[in-house]
């Protein structure tokens, strides 16, 4: 009987597999053309239907993600150096965007009426000329431990985190998010991570903190810092945490209260870690590196541990960008092999291999409402995809 059932299962499964396997991977719903150089970074506006994209010739474009048209375009960084990173977050303000150039500056822009101001609000001279993209603070959005949030995190409690799928982070009122307007960048000394206050353009902290002791030899031995993610964990009592990936493939987890040594450091990769992304609950994340591996890991603040949940080996190396959808269901990886790979984030199952770009992919980014995925590539295009749209609760 059991065997019979098993066979039936198998038959159903096979039929299903057959049906599913016939479904070809989707094509992009839109391709945004207009850049004249490799599109280095894209990010969605946290609440509006706006997409920012920055190219290697210093051009920042603002797109309407519904009409798929350029709203405005400006050369915001030196054309010779170009933009390497862009970021927008409810934490730094609703109509603000941060751009990072390879000219050693980070600029803080206001896009009041859908157009860039002539001059940036703030220009930070970081004097760093490397490839590490900046990171704004990612704040946990929802999670199983909402009830036990410490007092410093009332902002998270105050804002109703809804599961309606969109604008989870945008509801928070601006007063409360004013505090940590930080941006994390790799510093002048490339193995060091610096935290700057966007409001005052002052350096707030550096990790490892040089004054707190001897210059940390272990950090130096890791080589350049290649990827960054700053976040506010629900359990960290409002203190910033930073996850950094280094040239030798190791990652370190820092807590700003103890800037001398990392809380934990692990080595999942053999080659430089190129991108990191933390999920909305700050309880796990993904990393991509210059080697063939994708790593899904979990973070446990109490134990200070980072463990591999799943490791996937690809046939071709190099993941330049990673992103987890705000609803935490799927994750995307931008590969050097021109493909965007989509995985089930929780199970680590491969879902799709998206082929459109004909050059290295640089970044992937999900829109805040989880409906769109944008990928940017060296082929000067930005492709927009619609994958597994979240079910809207009516």
């Amino acid at each position: 009987m059991l065997q019979w059932q098993a066979l039936r299962w198998k038959a159903i499964k096979e039929e299903e597999d057959y049906r599913m396997s016939k479904r070809p991977p989707p094509d992009p719903v839109a391709v945004l053309r207009g850049h004249r150089a490799s599109v280095m970074d894209v990010c969605f506006h946290p609440s509006k239907n706006i997409l920012f994209s920055g190219a290697a010739d210093g051009e920042l474009r603002i797109w309407d993600s519904v009409q798929r048209r350029t709203i405005s375009s400006a050369l915001v960084h030196n054309a010779a150096h170009g933009i390497i990173g862009l970021a927008a977050s409810p934490l730094i303000g609703d109509d603000k965007v941060v751009s990072q150039g390879r000219d050693g500056t980070v600029k803080y822009w206001d896009i009041g009426d859908g157009d860039l101001s002539r001059n940036p609000l703030v220009t930070i001279k970081t004097n760093s000329y490397h490839f590490c993209k900046l990171s704004l603070v990612k704040k946990f959005a929802f999670g199983p431990c909402q009830t036990g949030v410490p007092e410093n995190c009332q902002d998270a409690e105050g804002g109703e985190t809804t599961f309606q799928g969109n604008q989870m982070e945008s509801i928070e009122d601006s007063e409360q998010v004013k505090g940590p307007k930080y941006v994390a960048v790799s510093g002048e000394q490339s193995s060091v991570v610096e935290l700057w206050d966007l409001a005052s353009a002052e350096k707030f902290l550096q990790l490892p903190h040089l004054s707190s002791g001897l210059p940390n030899t272990t950090t130096k031995a890791r080589g350049m810092c290649m990827a960054l993610q700053a976040f506010l964990s629900p359990e960290s009592q409002g203190y910033l945490n930073v996850l950094t990936g280094y040239e030798d493939g190791s990652m370190a987890w820092w807590d700003v209260r103890n800037p001398g040594v990392p809380m934990n450091s692990v080595k999942f990769h053999k080659e430089p870690v190129l991108s990191l992304c933390i999920d909305g609950a700050c309880s796990g994340g993904i990393s991509g590196a210059a080697d063939e591996k994708l790593v899904f890991f979990s973070l446990d603040y109490q134990l200070g541990s980072a463990l591999v949940k799943k490791e996937i080996t690809l046939e071709r190396p190099g993941i330049a960008g990673t992103s987890i959808r705000p609803d935490g269901k799927i994750a995307a990886f931008a590969g050097w092999d021109h493909r965007v790979r989509v995985y089930n984030y929780r199970k680590g199952i491969a879902l799709a291999i998206l082929k459109y770009h004909h050059a290295t992919c640089n970044t992937v980014s999900f829109s805040a409402d989880s409906k769109l995925l944008a990928s940017s590539s060296e082929d000067t295009t930005v492709a927009m995809w619609e994958l597994y749209p979240p079910q809207t609760v009516t």
């Binding site: 065997q3 299962w9 799943k310 929780r346 199952i349």
Partner: protein, 1006 residues
Amino acid sequence: MGEVEEKAVLEKVGNVVASINGSKHVDQVISAVYSLAALLFPLETLSFIGSISEKYRDEVRSVEALSENQTKEWWKVFYKGAAFPALARVLLYDVASDWLVCFPISARKNVYDVFFVKGRMTEVVQAIVPCLQNRGSTSYDTSAVYSNAERLLVLCLVENDGAFQMVKEFNFQCESEELTGDKLKQAISMLAQLVTSIPDKARPGISSALSSHLFFKSITTQLLSGAEEWDKNLPDGVDSCNKIYTHDTIVFIGEIVARICRRGSADVLLSELIPRVLCQARNFLSGTANVSVNKTFELKPGLRFWSRVIEEIKDSYAVERLSEQLLHQLAAQNTNDIEAYWILWILFHRSYENQPLIRSMFVDKFLLWKVFPICCLRWILHFAILECSPDNTLLTKAYHAHRLVETMQRLVSVWSKREFVQSSRLEQQAYVTAALGLCLEKMSKEDLDATKDAIHSILQGVSCRLESPDHLVRKMASSVALVFSKVVDPQNPLYLDDNCHDETIDWEFKPTMSDRSSVAKSHHKDEEADKVKGLDMAKEANGVDDADMGKKVKGRKQKLLEFKLVDPDEVIDPAALNGELISDGEGDDFGSEDSDSLSDTSLEPYDLTDDDADLKRKFSQLVDVVGALRKSDDVDGVEGALNVAEKLVRASPDELKYVASDLARTLVQVRCSDFTVEGEEESAEEKRQKALVALIVTCPLESLEALHTLLYSATVDVSQRIMILDVMTGAAQELASMKFLKPEYQPRNLISSVSDKPWFIPRNIGPPGASSWKEISTPGTLLNWSYSYERELPPRPGQIQRGKTRRWSLQSSVNENQLEQSQNQFPQYAAAFMLPAMLGFDKKRHGVDLLGRDFIVLGKLIFMLGVCIKSAAMHPEASVLASPLLDMLRVREISHHIEPYVRRSVLFAASCILVAIHPTHVASALMAGNTEIPRGLEWIRTWAHDIAESDTDRECYMLAMTCLQLHSELALQTSRALESTEGTFGTETLGLPSALASGMIKIPRV
């Protein structure tokens, strides 16, 4: 034995003969004969009495019978002395021709036949058989005599078991016989001769019982049962080794067996013999344990006579025929190894021990000169060399190690010789290889160490086989090498061939051999159909086929393995099927499980197949291709470059001329095996070759220069040289059948002539059958801004008509009129292909030795030249190039090259020359007194003749025959051409030496 009786018998016979001679009536004869028969045989009632006339009945009745003892006495005397021959003569000639037809049936049976049927068979045979050949005498009705004799022979020998009786008679005879020694032997052999000659003497078609097949069958059966009886009656304790004890019976049987074999009926004999021995051996083997089976066999009644019979056969040729047939028949019946071994042992063990001739037959002839199936080879080895039964696993060392080593050495010395590889038949080679391999399998390392030179010879033999162009020969080498390595170091077998990784080696080499012959057959058929096309070397096709087949088999095996891995009874865990991850539970700690799993099911994966086709580096410039090919460490780059090389070359860009030589060189030097995964070497190799062919075709002069330099340079290896020659061949063929589009020439007037028609009316050009132009009226408008015309056109061939009319504009396209034309582009480059290649073939330089070691390259080179000249066929260039090519072929080292492979190529090239030269060219050469070409052609003829007569290789023979045929055709065409020119110009104007004409062009006998 009383003198009295003898006298009485003779007197009686005399009376009977006299009365027969004097008789006037048949009954008189009957009564006369009866009067004697009654004395000799215990005859019962006079059953025939009613059928004779009253007059003689009393006479018959008055004959009184003798007592039983007396009858016996009389019988003995009658048959031993001169009485029977005398009477038999009368009976067989006089009575048979004059009276026998009138005999009533019962009388014939009781009175006439009884003398022969119940007589002493040895004498009877001697009396009857001569009747069959006495053709000289005319006094008798010969046909009556013959048919009577034949009837009697069938009656005596076949129906009444005469042969069996003869054997019995010999049994008794030995006790009381005065004839001894040689005289007896002579008599026996004469008798055997008579018996076995019966089928020859009998008139064909008269009596089927006397046809050699049936007759010998019956004789054999009788003899064998006679022998068995003899064997059973043999007193126990007779020493089996006692040589003096040879019985007449055995001698007689031996003689007959020998003669039957000699007369070519060994198969009939064996078809009777084998079942008997097999049955006996089986009975015996099933009953005994294998301890000292030999001894028991020797003592067992019923089995002892076999070996004695064989021993008695003094005719070694007969024994050879017998044993050969025996082996073949046993193999055909799929006899198992043990039984076959015992049959051989039962039959031959005595003669093998005692007669050196027989021993050498088994050890030398059957191993080195004959070809048997492989199973027979195993039996021979077990019987003659190991001298132990194949099931004798207990005593592994029971065999004669010494004899084994000796045999192995003998085999190796033959096997390792280069001449053996070059000149013996392939079947023979396979057989000797198998013999050697089986010997080696039985040997130990110590045995092998004892023979130092054997190891050396094995290695030599292996290495000279490995460089053979024949796949099968290489396989033999690798099989022997494998066995050898297993003997030397069982842990570390040496696999020279990727395809054979089995533990047991198949010594059969069979499937490929049949394949080969089929290829050869189809090849010859081709030749008949299209002589020139069919001349392609079967060798090449063969090699490819074999390789393919190897792969297929391998693949099939792998598939089989995979297939087995799927266990139908496997217990399947439904959870595992669902694709759940084991690590899932712990990591999935947010959200409620239910809602998650609900929404997760919507995350069905898309098709995840992925290829890296779009990631390949794209080459668009030949310079890049050259650069990428040079970077041998960039595997993908080389592969990508190879993929596009042919296309880029075919596009024939302007810079091709300048990169051609570079590209040719790099393409030759790319190592395909370095960068491809296993199993894909061939496709890469193919791409490389295609690219090279394309290069030569599009840019012949520059690339050929580079390739010719490489061909004789020391930096490339044999495979690259072969490859160069292959691509040249391919390019020559492609150039020869070049196709290109050529616009059809249409005379057009550039300036239209002034005519009465306005300029805008279209002219009447177009396909035939078109109607005239009509203006299209546009209704509704008064003003017509443009003139439109239309006309009906006939449909083009193959056109499907969809609409009703076709409207043509004034400017009609003429593209459809382009025609595909082919034109032989090769002749203009023929010299560039051939001459440089012919320059250096006989130079022995560092790494280049075409005449000796690299003979395969030489063969390929000649093949290439042949293809080249064929591609230029009927063009003047061919005639010009033919003479240097002929000069090259005529070099003795080439035309009589020791390797058949080269000779085949030469024959091919020679046939190509014959095809390529235009007959008128030969004719004009003859008329101009230019002897070069005619001499060369004459040489081809004589040489092909030699090859056809004396070459050992079959393919060479076939090719030579084709060559002769082509030559005769050319000669015929030439003579026609000569005739026609003679007709035009008249003979006297030509200074044609008639001797030359007749001498140089001969139409050979084919």
